[in-house]
Amino acid sequence: MVYWLQQMLNALQLGSIYALIALGYTMVYGILTMINFAHGDVFMVGAFFCFLAATYLGLPFVPTLLLTMIGAALVGVLLERLAYKPLRNAPRVSAIITALGLGLFLENFTLALAPYPKHIPPLLENVTWDMGGVSLSSLQVLIIFLSLGLMFLLDYVVHRTPVGMAMRAISWDKTFVPLMGIPVDLIISVTFAIGAGLAGAAGVMYALAYPVIDPYMGIMVGWKAFISAVVGGIGNIRGAMIGAFILGGVEIMVTAFFPSTYRDFVAFTLLLLLIVVRPYGILGKPRTQKV
């Protein structure tokens, strides 16, 4: 029992981080029907911003988090303005190739500046509570609650504010929405900023939980977040969160049940089966192609 509770906690922590990154994939897809493959690397850049703020500026946790989120949001907007906007009317494949290229650029640019893995200093005093055999660390509590908080905030912004309404409108129809006086370019930039900002927050939390960072850290985590978004139903914000917690849970539980070598094999087989049963993901709806 104690053992399972501990594994559940591990799954929650992993799922929270996947969820924050998955949100960025799903938001951009929702609005532009484009998969931003550079998103995992924005997350990595976020972790490096966290390293810079914590090591060179010596900032405590809250300013580090805010600065990183702002920095990552700027990177997101820059990517959109410089690379994706000129291609908005180009074939979808060109945009995806650009995204892959940008991801490689971010990785190798960071690699050129920081070839060695970096260590993040502990920003918070870590306390581990022992509750009848289950270890709960203050870091785990922080990661889980901060992620949930950010997700609910995003859900509120998208469903209850004018900006959110504009986002949903653009996602519905890109041709007629500008005629209603909605600044499409601005809203798309805001979407990229929010998605990248959340990836930045995920970068900080990841860096706190796994304090050795390197330029390639975003690849695998990015893929897993992307898969979470697809499983949840890409384009759907609540779906991305559910998908991420499912993936985190499956990964941890497979390791707990089977030899850990089978983790990715069993986890991804299960996810494939889920996609076969629900091709549009858990909360996704089939889109009718307008002619």
Binding site: Q6, H119, N126
Partner: protein, 386 residues
């Protein structure tokens, strides 16, 4: 016009002739190092030590080959921490740069593919740090490769040392292992440790795996915690071990950890900090308990690079020592002659101890040391033999 052309042609021929003549005076040696990728500290140490060794020999006027002294020229290739690029780098050094012999790569998962190329191209390759037995064994015949040597001990030996150390010095009757199943080195030594530990009467209570580049080990560590071991063995590379130890502590694991020679980089201390104090690992040499031969190397290296040489640096330096001695003994700059003289070289006194190749083996007979991490420093603990 024609006169001018022929003059030009003549001068080109003359310069080519001059450069060919001066090229005869240099010896080209290749290095393959992990300069980028997931273990850049390993590659940098290797490159630094190689450059130091070559600088020293050139400062002394060059290497005595037969009747003349030849300067040594170094060609360094980065394998980017990738198996395919290691093989490509070996190919390039052998065919394009036409080096006489190669030193490196260091990690077994890169040294094995590069060694295949060296073997088929009949060029001597000495890996300083690859301890997996497969590096020097032919995969088909299980016989030693002809052209591949190493400057370090092998994992069956190291695994035995560690199993004995855990049982006798740490009095640990139950052990857990967490290792990278996708990496030749980690997998090899984890299995050897298990066999030896069980043979000596210990019990392996958890044998957990992960794959390269994983960052979250919480599920495996929770399993290990549940199995209640007396000691946890982490035969993993320096960039991963700090994460594993930190996550274990956060899960409330207080069991001591032990490691193998992959811990031996100063980067481990930078990444892990105080969390690693009090743990032990086996390695090739101890900088604070070195033989007189090693003292000079350690001071020179510190003066040149501002850091203590780690085991990779020391082994690379020894690999070059072996190579220089064998070229001198061969008396000519010829790949086949170097191979022949290297395998029959009398005992060589290196920084990491005395080494000699047995008649039908490419692995030198050496001893290991156990280091303890104390106050953020590697300190000599004991000499070890299984």
């Amino acid at each position: 016009m024609r006169k001018m052309l022929s003059l030009l042609l003549f001068s080109v021929l003359v310069t080519m002739g001059v450069s060919a003549w001066s090229a005869e005076k240099t010896l080209k040696l290749g290095v393959i190092a992990e300069l980028t990728g997931d273990m850049p500290a390993v590659g940098t140490s290797c490159k630094n030590a190689a450059e130091l060794a070559v600088k020293e020999i050139n400062a002394a006027g060059g290497l005595q080959v037969g009747k003349e002294k030849m300067k040594v020229e170094l060609v360094v290739e980065d394998n980017a921490g990738k198996a395919d690029q290691s093989a490509a780098a070996a190919q390039k050094l052998i065919t394009q740069d036409e080096v006489l012999a190669i030193v490196g790569p260091n990690a077994s998962r890169y040294a094995i593919p590069a060694s295949e190329i060296a073997e088929s191209s009949e060029t001597v390759l000495i890996t300083p740090w690859s301890t997996n037995p497969k590096t020097t064994l032919d995969a088909n015949t299980n016989q030693p490769k002809k052209y591949v040597f190493r400057a370090c001990f092998i994992d069956p030996f190291q695994g035995g040392v560690l199993a004995k150390f855990a049982l006798e010095n740490l009095k640990a009757k139950k052990a857990a292992v967490l290792y990278d199943v996708a990496s030749d080195y980690n997998k090899g030594i984890a299995e050897v440790f298990k066999t030896n530990y069980e043979k000596l009467g210990g019990k392996i209570v958890a044998f957990e795996t992960y794959t390269t580049n994983d960052k979250d080990f919480s599920a495996q560590l929770t399993k290990i915690k549940d199995a209640k071991p007396d000691v946890i063995f982490l035969p993993n590379y320096y960039s991963e071990v700090p994460l594993q130890v930190q996550q274990a502590k956060r899960l409330g694991i207080t069991t001591p950890f032990i490691g193998s020679d992959s811990w031996g980089s100063a980067e481990l201390l930078k990444l892990g900090g105080a969390e690693l104090n009090g743990y032990y690992f086996s390695t090739h040499y101890a900088a604070d308990n070195a033989a007189p031969v090693a003292k000079k190397f350690i001071t020179d290296y510190e003066k040149a690079y501002g850091a203590k040489p780690d085991d990779v640096a020391a082994l690379t330096y020894d690999a070059f020592g072996l190579l220089f001695n064998s070229i001198k003994a061969a008396g000519k700059a010829d790949r086949e002659a170097i191979r022949a003289s290297l395998s029959t070289l009398p005992s060589y006194k290196g920084v990491t101890g005395d080494m000699k190749f047995q008649a039908d083996s490419r692995d030198p007979i050496k001893s290991a040391v156990i280091l303890k991490i104390k106050d953020g420093q590697f300190t000599y603990f004991t000499n070890a033999n299984p």
